[in-house]
């Protein structure tokens, strides 16, 4: 097949053709502005991961030259990559943003949550998240979830209603047509909003390249002390790993996702630049979550179950 560009096939349209990144960007910006126009107290979930960084980049653009009319919320598992926390604090300062932090550790200290036998705090994030939403009366919560990530997420709406306990009922979702988003909700309910719903991992990286967006260093190849568990490389550290029989070795790795240190795996990689990463993803035989998230490997419906309880 010959690689003819659209502009050659349709010369009359060449002038007014949007690239796929432009089209996705325009859709996401429209979503941010709909929320600003219809909801009172929106907040952006900001973990310092690449998806939340791209979300913030789009939100900043959507309201320029005014400030972003939303604050940020970080649900802090306590098992953080120091590079990510440093990045978070730098971005907040640079753009004069307001950051809320909901700490899993506080809930463990108060006896509300208990440490799990596997040491992972990822599933423990739901309670602090819902508590922060209730305490701050947030009515719209932006998440960086993408439909290409996982099969339960593939059925998620862009505006997703959550009940008073933060729960998601996939069978009672509102139909979502055209680009008409229904943000109406009762007191105590809130709307989760996913502006990157239609982006893929590759789109996110291509956009990072195009927009020259800075990311935490751990997304690029670096030397790190790691140990193998469940076929993934986990970072040796204060959170509890490795166990006695798990030998530590130094490898050149990078992270494809950034989450709780206890369940986010690194992949062997020599990709040192955005361009290298894009080449690597394009050739990868594993999905982002399959390669790096222990929590999604538990069952066919692991994500659906967590989402029903109010997870991101």
């Amino acid at each position: 097949m010959t690689a003819v560009t659209d502009s050659l096939v349709h010369p009359d349209r060449a002038q007014f053709a949007l690239s796929h990144l432009d089209a996705l960007e325009a859709e996401s910006v429209h979503i941010f502005r709909e929320v600003a126009g219809e909801l009172e107290r929106p907040v952006i979930l900001f973990s310092g991961g690449k998806d939340s960084i791209v979300m913030l980049h789009l939100a900043l653009g959507a309201f320029r030259p005014a400030a972003v009319p939303f604050s940020l919320l970080h649900v802090d598992t306590g098992h953080n990559f120091p590079e990510v926390i440093a990045y978070r604090d730098r971005v907040v300062a640079e753009h004069g943003l307001r950051l809320h932090v909901a700490r899993v550790q506080d809930f463990i200290d108060r006896g509300v949550l208990r440490e799990r036998p596997d040491g992972s705090r990822n599933p423990l994030q739901t309670v602090p998240l819902l508590d922060a939403i209730e305490t701050n009366r947030f009515d719209a919560v932006f998440g960086g979830g993408r439909r290409d990530e996982e099969k339960a997420r593939a059925k998620e709406r862009i505006f997703s209603l959550r009940d008073e306990s933060g729960g998601w009922d996939p069978r009672r979702q509102r139909p979502e047509l055209w680009s008409l988003y229904n943000g109406r909700h009762a007191a105590g309910e809130h709307i989760r909003v996913f502006p990157l719903s239609n982006w893929t991992e590759l789109d996110v990286w291509q956009y990072i390249e195009r927009e020259h967006i800075e990311l935490p260093e751990i997304y690029y190849a670096h030397e790190r002390d790691v140990f193998a568990r469940d076929g993934m490389w986990l970072t040796a550290g204060a959170w509890g790993g490795p166990k006695d029989h798990e030998p530590v070795e130094r490898r050149q790795v990078r992270y494809r996702t950034v989450g709780d240190m206890s369940c986010t795996g690194a992949v062997d990689s020599a990709a040192a630049t955005v361009g290298d990463v894009i080449t690597e993803i394009a050739a990868s035989r594993l999905t982002e979550r399959g390669a790096t998230r222990a929590d999604d490997r538990q069952s066919e419906a692991a994500m659906e179950d967590r989402k029903r309880e109010g997870y991101f």
């Binding site: 502009s7 600003a36 653009g61 030259p65 593939a154 996939p170 055209w178 066919e300």
Partner: protein, 426 residues
Amino acid sequence: MGTTVQTTSLLRLATAGSVDDGKSTLVGRLLRDSKSVLADQLAAVEHASRKRGQDTPDLALFTDGLRAEREQGITIDVAYRYFATPRRRFILADTPGHVQYTRNMVTGASTAELAVVLVDARNGMVEQTRRHTAVAALLRVPHIVLAVNKMDLADYAEPVFAAVAAEFTGYAASLGVKDVLAIPISALSGDNVVEPSTHMDWYGGPTLLQHLETVPIGSDPSGEPVRFPVQFVIRPQTAEHPDYRGYAGQLAAGVLRTGDPVTVLPSGRTSTVAGIDLLGCETGIAFTPQSITVRLADDLDVSRGDLIAAGAAPVPTKDVEATVSHLNERPLRAGDRVLLKHTTRTVRSLVKEISYRIDINTLQCSGTDELNDNDIGHVVLRTAEPLALDNYSDNRRTGSFLLIDPADGTTLTACMAGQAEWESSC
């Protein structure tokens, strides 16, 4: 750098059907052959299929994401799938085909620029084919592909294909569909899906994927009147920008240039475009569907819900009629008080009349007092405030609106302003 293909465009398409049509096989093949299904997903599906006692991977499990869907072995909801070739990025809305899920088909078709309708070559057009085509036509999906599937079971015979294609093309034309292409395929063996078939030399057209990669996307905005629904007013009120006042929105039609004369609706006041900003950078020209910020030369009272228009503009009206798809188990009846959400404006509204219900299989109209879940019909509404509404046939974005239950915010009905040509006999 230089690793990316930035000129790739984005095509949204919809498929409808049940497992019997081979839809899952077709979607599975598109995803697999474009490398959009990866090893861990395939392993998960193989594992789940074995647990169900199936020997071969059930490709429907790629798209049936919810527990209830997997347990019942049916697609309930719209699933969005993503795949790409070096030429294009695709967003595929995969919807169930049964009549009790008409609303999901309507949802998937609402944003699609192309619909793939599958028929079994051995059966030809059946009720389901007519329904899928009618939904695509109703939602004004600009391009329809008839994929005549299972040609391998029909001896790859041209007369079989030609008969179905002729009947279908006539039906689609009667519904006002402008662009129809019929392709003979075998999803199972791959004929004419990605690679040209070696069994059907008589077919000289493109494969399905070739067509998806080359079909024109969007209309030419340069010929359209400008439609710009205002989403949000940007007023920084900072030392650096003390007087900046910009109207943020996404162009729904046309090309807008600095200096263009515009009308603000429903007020009818006029001004000219003083400047256009694209995410903070000034640009002299913007086109659909870009998200931009527009500055006007005059200090007008413009807020969310207003429409900035240029060229032929709609006359704001409180009397609205529309062909609708009812989406909820609560019936819609004359006398109902609802909220009407049109572009960025939400107004109170009264359902004055349920004109008729349309049988989506036969396109026959019949009188009715109420519309139930999954019904298609026609309604007349009276709004509390005037709306600057286009006919849906002229603009899918400014001609569409939702009815919402004011009590709990439930989305009740999807509406397309005006009447389709074929409804004139109703």
